[in-house]
């Protein structure tokens, strides 16, 4: 599972498989796993931000003819 510390290998493999990545390429998957663990950890400050009442910076505008 994804934790405060990072992501365990089982969760990584499950998500990688769902994304369509080739789990058979073990050396590449090891490299990717290490990178993803670092990434998840580096994104932690985002979880701690107070965003109460803030809408995302994305909006849909219907096309005008």
């Amino acid at each position: 599972m994804t934790t405060q510390e990072g992501m365990d290998r089982e969760t990584f493999d499950r998500l990688a498989s769902a994304a369509g990545l080739d789990l058979g390429d073990t050396s590449h998957m090891d490299e990717l796993y290490n990178y993803v663990r670092g990434l998840v950890s580096s994104l932690k400050p985002l979880r701690d931000m107070d965003l109460e009442g803030v809408e995302p910076a994305t909006a849909y505008f219907p096309p005008r003819d």
Partner: protein
Amino acid sequence: MDNTEICYSSAGELASLIKSRQVSPREVVEAHLERIEATEPTLNSFITVMADQARAAARQCELAMSAGTYRGPLHGVPLGLKDLYYVRGVRNTSGSRIFDDFVPDYDCTVANRFRRAGAVLIGKLNLHQFAFGPTGENPDYGNMHNPWNVDLIPGGSSGGSGSAAAAGQCTITMGSDTGGSIRIPSALCGLAGLKPTYGRISRYGISVLAWSLDHAGPMCRTVEDCALVMNALAGYDPMDPASVNVPVPDFTEGLTGNVKGLRIGVPKEYFEVPVDTQVEQAVRKAIEQLGEMGAEVREVSMPMFHQTAPISTTILYSEATAYHRNLVLSKGAQYAAPVRVRIESGFFISGEQYLRAQRARALFTRKCRELFDEVDVLAGPMEPMTAHPIGATQVQINDVTVGSVPALTQYTRAFNLNGFPAITVPCGFSDDELPIGLQLAGKPFDESTVLRAAHAYEKATDWHKRRPPV
């Protein structure tokens, strides 16, 4: 005028020489092709040199002048485009051998507008693969090299644009900037490089890295040239969904050299992260000089500065993965290994995380806009250090070892997130003769003030007149 002088003339200088027929567009193009031939084996700035097309375009420029048509200050001026700007009939690789044979059948809006302005396209420039990296290293087309020291990176992703402009291979070049890719190589190569406001220059026909962060902009040897390019390119384009229909000023009008009364804020957070002592000294001295020239300088706090990296990374990786999904799943092994890993890691960012980052971005942008009620320009270092050796993944800043990628992007990403305009201008050299950049950022769609401040500083100094040893 000898060929070296032609190659180191600015667009503004070449314009008057061409208009007064002291030099012909063909002479200008031949001088640059000769310069490319002499320096290219060392620098590797280009993926495609378009010698025949450039000669033909120069002839057209001369014919037009003979017929009484002068298209303005870019008429006959040599231009290089990063090899992700589509040009009809010219291969566009985006820095990957996967697209070695891809030839677009239409022009990007930027190429169209340059053609209308009379600029002569001389070639397509090397880049960090898929524009996804800040160093200018590329295993497919070879690493780019910094003209100030060819063992060092020129910066990226627009590394070829940086080295080509700095070495006099092109008068003006274009980069793209998703997390700093115009400003990083401009700073490390000693150029003026402008990332305009998001929506100011059309991205139509430019390969995507991340839709909501991608900007197109000029990399030149003078601030005035950046303004001239803005005059040619800025303006609404219905083909780009992000293009904004706002009035376009004459960007050269404010280039008076006067900064009296300009309110300059210096974010204290810029100096709470690792920054090389020589860089800090040069930047603080430059800001002090702007103060002596009449600007009102004061320390400010930039809200959420220390959170910009995780916000930016989340959005960049999610969007890059969405764009590359099919290609990376089918041809991942053909990607450069570091680029592949970055793109595939986006599969592990959830929709909730992406939207959380977009909410944080909205908050950050609002707070930045409020900050600009108090100041006209924010000033600080463009990079925390000078160029580092090719291949290095860690760098030493004073007594701290940091990752190259986070260090190179620590001052750039904020202005991709909020979309505000930001320029780098040379403000000194290190003891080992490497350029240092000053970043000046402004309010949305107020490139004029950013250009005015940068131009005034440039005019008062001579850093931009130095030439690299290559």
